[in-house]
Subunit: 710 residues, 2 copies
């Protein structure tokens, strides 16, 4: 009999094939003039150099962590009856890291090709250029979900053990954390250095080929926005599926026509991929000629298809409708959160207008106003995540014990189901941003630059909704992961009680032990540490950008000083682009290792000292403050950016005015907020949650507070 869950690997393979189709669609387009090919090639080489350097260093880290994991997980190898499980755990972890790296590589590869091709096609108009940009992004989107779900399917098929799939997820997330934070540091390093020496000190235009940092800047868009963002969403995507699979094992039963609960997330994810593929193929600029609308329309179509297909599957497989409902609640919440986030960062709306107006009184009022609206912007999405989780919970609660949190997980699955298309839309942005840069550098003329500008603006429109998705999805995923952690602790406790290793105190129930009560001092202690962690992490990566930019600025200045004829733009004189890329790469990796290691290290320390109660509080605390800071930083950053752009349209004196200078300060502050620290936080809290679930059983057995009898 055909097992319904096989829809997951089938959809994955089709997704990879569809990605390949788009790849060749883009590949066979013309890359343009010799100069364009040169520039594109330089960006490509820089990006590959970055990835190669990054992956080499990470390989060492992954091998160390994977080996250690295999030694102690799922049970310490010296006391387990089943050492094969330890080997599987290690392998799943390596596999997850590899798949994540591969997806990032493929996306980068095509993105760095599509940029020049889209720029060249822009000579033939918007309708020619847009599909190249979008389909270039779709390669990444479809590859990421295809590889991710295929990986999950393979690990699940071979081991049949959701806990081993958790190892896979951790591998993918650990790599995502490095990719996101490393890429984020790199991209801002290059951006700041290129702007500061080029625009500010020497007064040469953006993307000017004389600037030694210009290629690094373009590379940054790719490694930060394409590879990093893809890894980030992939990481939530995998984690949400695994979380729900693990929650299913806590219920352990079949529903409907006999489908195992554990397979429902796989079925829904598979359907989501189909919907995303159809949405990607259906996406056309059409008559309106508005690429922004086209991208959003593609998203809505995908959502509707997902709703219909899953409804049909729910009906035929006789899955309880509440589980479907929870998925739809999640998906709707994603759209609502996206739309409200949009308000706080859009050009025509009050926050941006007021921030632009405040720029008239100087940089300080620009910062205070933008920051204040950033603070306000956290309210709608947090409320949305809270309501979505509560509705899903209460919807599924009547189905029986354990179904309530399973429902919360299904909401996350629903929200993330269409992530294939979301990533496609998001990767479109940096591709066409690069196209604009190439058009400028290769001198393709004003009309082409205008078209690429329009393509670029559409990327920003789409980003508002996709960003809402990303944060909402991360929120629901980490709540599901918190539930997973609790379920893992429960199983460990039950095992220990059954084996007589520990005794339930008189008058105490397992529920009581597990409740993670807000007034339990261990939970509270953990929570206080947890809320500080995202703040400390953000600070480390942002200070890292500053240190790294200093190193690179020195190099850019040196080149302008020491290479004769460079400043004057003498024919044939070229800066040493590669050296800049190299400095930014090495520096980014040097800065991100401490922050990432701290994330994992403190999580384990809290668990092995304070026990599962402290770790539970720690997770909750870091989720709370992580979401708060991520929303604040992303939205304030976007808002400052658009306030500056609004002034550049000519209001308050336009470009070069005092108001503009003030707005530039805000924009510069916002850059590391929205491109480095903010987006890394999602991944950071996911990694923490996965580490906690993986080590839950060990921590229940061995922890300092437990040994001291506290």
């Amino acid at each position: 009999m055909f097992e319904p869950w096989l829809i997951a690997p089938i959809a994955s393979i089709i997704s990879i094939l569809a990605g390949l189709y788009f790849y060749y669609f883009v590949e066979k387009k013309d890359s343009g003039t010799k100069r364009m090919k040169e520039i594109s090639e330089a960006i490509r080489e820089g990006s590959k150099a970055f990835l190669k350097r990054e992956y080499t260093i990470l390989a060492i880290f992954v091998i160390i962590v994977g080996t250690l994991m295999g030694i102690v997980l799922p049970e310490p190898i010296w006391s387990t009856a089943n050492p094969m499980e330890n080997i599987s755990m290690s392998l799943a972890y390596f596999f997850g890291a590899m798949f994540s790296a591969l997806a990032g590589y493929v996306g980068m590869d095509i993105a760095t090709k599509a940029n020049a091709k889209a720029a060249y096609a822009a000579k033939g108009g918007l309708n020619k250029a847009f599909p190249i940009g979008f389909r270039g992004g779709a390669v990444m989107g479809l590859a990421v979900v295809g590889f991710s779900l295929l990986g999950i399917s393979i690990v699940y098929f071979i081991t049949g053990n959701a806990r081993i799939v958790l190892g896979f997820s951790f591998g993918a997330s650990a790599l995502a954390l490095f990719a996101k934070a490393g890429g984020g540091i790199f991209t801002k390093t290059a951006d700041i250095s290129a702007d500061l020496v080029g625009k500010v000190e020497l007064g040469i235009p953006e993307d000017d080929p004389r600037n030694p940092a210009v290629i690094a800047d373009n590379v940054g868009d790719n490694v930060g926005d394409v590879a990093g963002m893809g890894a980030d969403l992939a990481d939530s995507y995998i984690a949400s599926i695994v979380a729900v699979m693990l929650l299913a094992t806590a219920i352990s039963g079949t529903v409907g026509t006999g489908i195992d609960l554990i397979q429902i997330p796989l079925v829904f994810a598979g359907i989501g991929i189909f919907a995303s593929i159809l949405g990607a193929f259906a996406l056309r600029i059409g008559e309106t000629g508005n690429p922004g609308k086209a991208l959003n329309l593609g998203t809505y179509i995908t959502c509707i298809l997902f709703g219909i297909f899953t409804l049909i599957a729910t009906y035929y497989l006789q899955i309880p409708w509440q589980l479907w409902g929870a998925g739809i609640v999640g998906l709707s919440a994603g759209i609502i959160i996206g739309t409200t986030s949009d308000y706080f960062t859009s050009e025509g709306k009050k926050p941006v207008l007021k921030t632009a107006e405040a720029s008239k009184s100087g940089a300080a009022t620009n910062i205070i106003t933008g920051f204040s609206y950033g603070l306000q912007s956290v309210f709608p999405p947090l409320l949305g995540i809270g309501i979505a989780a509560a509705v899903a919970y209460f919807l599924c609660n009547p189905l029986g014990e354990g179904y309530a949190v399973f429902g919360v997980g299904m909401a996350a699955i629903g929200m993330l189901s269409i992530v294939g298309l979301i990533i496609s839309n998001d990767a479109y942005g940096p591709i066409v941003d690069n196209s604009r840069g190439i058009a400028e550098q290769a001198g393709l003329g004003e009309e082409v630059i205008r078209i690429t500008d329009e393509l670029d603006a559409a990327g920003n429109t789409a980003k508002a909704i996709t960003k809402g998705f990303a944060i909402g999805a991360a929120g629901l995923t980490v709540i599901a992961l918190l539930a997973t952690f609790q379920a893992e602790v429960r199983q460990a406790l039950e095992r220990l009680i059954d084996s007589g290793a520990i005794q339930l105190p008189i008058g105490e129930t397992i529920e009581g032990l597990l409740s993670l009560s807000l007034l339990d001092p261990q939970v509270l202690l953990g929570a206080f540490i947890g809320i500080a962690m995202p703040a400390v992490f953000s600070a480390m990566v942002m200070l890292g950008v500053g240190r790294n930019a200093e190193r690179m600025i020195r190099e850019v200045r040196r080149q302008f000083k020491e290479i004769p004829g460079l400043k004057e733009g003498k024919e044939g004189v070229k800066p040493d682009y590669a050296r800049c890329v190299d400095i930014a790469t090495t520096g980014a990796l040097r800065e991100l290792l401490p922050a990432s290691t701290l994330t994992i290290g403190v999580t384990l320390a809290v668990g092995f000292v304070g026990g599962y109660q402290a770790l539970g509080g720690y997770l909750a605390g870091s989720i709370f403050s992580g979401l708060l800071l991520a929303l604040l930083m992303s939205n304030a950053g976007g808002l400052w950016d658009n306030a500056k752009k609004y002034i550049e349209t000519g209001v308050y004196g336009g470009k070069g005015s005092d108001a503009h200078k003030a707005a530039v300060v805000g924009d510069t502050v916002g850059d590391p907020f929205k491109d480095t620290a903010g987006p890394s936080l999602n991944t950071m809290i996911t990694v923490m949650s996965l580490v906690a679930s993986l080590f839950a059983a060990l921590i229940v057995q061995f922890n300092l507070f437990g040994i001291l009898g506290i």
Copy 2:
């Protein structure tokens, strides 16, 4: 027989008498030249005008809220058997608000006298001026704790009901919220307007008498820093005592020689007042001539005296030593938190040095660096609060059920015990800051300005430790209040179960119902709303400052334009100071009402919709994010301020350099962070917690989720 708790009212009365002694000590000093008296009188009048206007508006608010409270609390008047309790509740609330207002008034009154007297005494050297500044502050410190503890004692003596004392506490806190936020908006409005028009636009020096906003600026120091800060600490002080009294009723028993548990916080608080009085009298500049050291030495002496006296009391009353230990844990945590906060804002340390260095690359890097260190600075205090709470809990847990959270409350009591001296130190700051302004405006010469500068610098040194106390104390107090809320919910549930109004679900225990589990969807929903609230509140008051400053800037510009001879400093031409004070006052009140009403309104809405579970989560969420944001904003603000001051010593080009301009931007951003939003958050979360405890019983009975059967 002498009841030990009577030490509380006795200490209060002695404290008020000691305050009076200091009052006359300061009062009989010379106020200096005619010009000085004029300026001092103008500040005094402005401050009184502000307070009068503020109190008039708040009186209406207080009467409305107090009446509504009396109608529904402790039980709705239409269903209570004991309507006298409702009247008592109303009266206690009015009483609390009145005492808080009175303490603010007294502090302001003496502060606005001491400023000129200290400035004049500075002619005779540091040793003459310092005692006036300090004892002026001590009037406020001793008055605040005296009135607060006397009020508590009276309400407790008359009603014998800790719940009515809670009404008193709410009255004091509600007023404190207005005083703090209103004063914070006022002070920054005046500061920004004075600087922007005076220093930036016209290039006239700070505190120049030609500037129409200069008196408002000096008034701001008094209403924001003296009255507002006093109200803030008083509010934590009262709330911590009441919280512990309520936690005691949940245990209900006597210990040791028969002292009622409920009276222990009163005994400790009374002893704390004695220690503070002795510390205040012992405080001398001495041989070293270093006022900063003198202030800190006074704090240490007070701590040691408190430790010894309470140890003796614990021994003679045979109170379990663990309760004393918890108090000492809290006190020590306060000092440790203060010392670590100091690191992040002190001139010689890395964060300030790095931020100053970053100013070389412009305003944006100054902001990013300072903000990043601000983010890092949250870690030590949060860890400190978490550890203090956990240690106190585990220390007292063996004493029996309910003692663990009682111990956490005792830690808060311990930390706040010496608040009389802390407020004295803190109020010293704005007094000598004003002295400096008066010395400048009255032309007392360079030597006097140098001495007042030195006095001012000492205020900042002391502030580092006192600020740590304020935040740590607020943290422990709100944890205790969360426990109080839980205890109130428990009593309400037990009452309802006993009366048969509700039934315990099968297999459920009261503990289970009360656990406020992090994975309960109602708790989680509440928590997500709770974490957003401090962010929204901060944004509202900061945007309020911006709007208010706009209004005032217009007025200052108008005066310079329309009053002939003002700009040129023509003899006999004076600006209209009063009008500026008036505009800032009206505007501040207009801006703070929505924010404060929202705080109370959303708290009630969450409770009456989502039930006590949602409200518990909401409180925890707002505590987490409130402490995070308060620490971030206070420390980042202090850090930017000192980075600017460091550059002004001559490094990186000193005053007027590009680095200095960049640092001024950071300082200006930091102003509303550290003086408006940051410090209001403590009070905000205390008010929320008090509202929750007050309405706990009603909410358990009536809430929408309950009615809908969720």
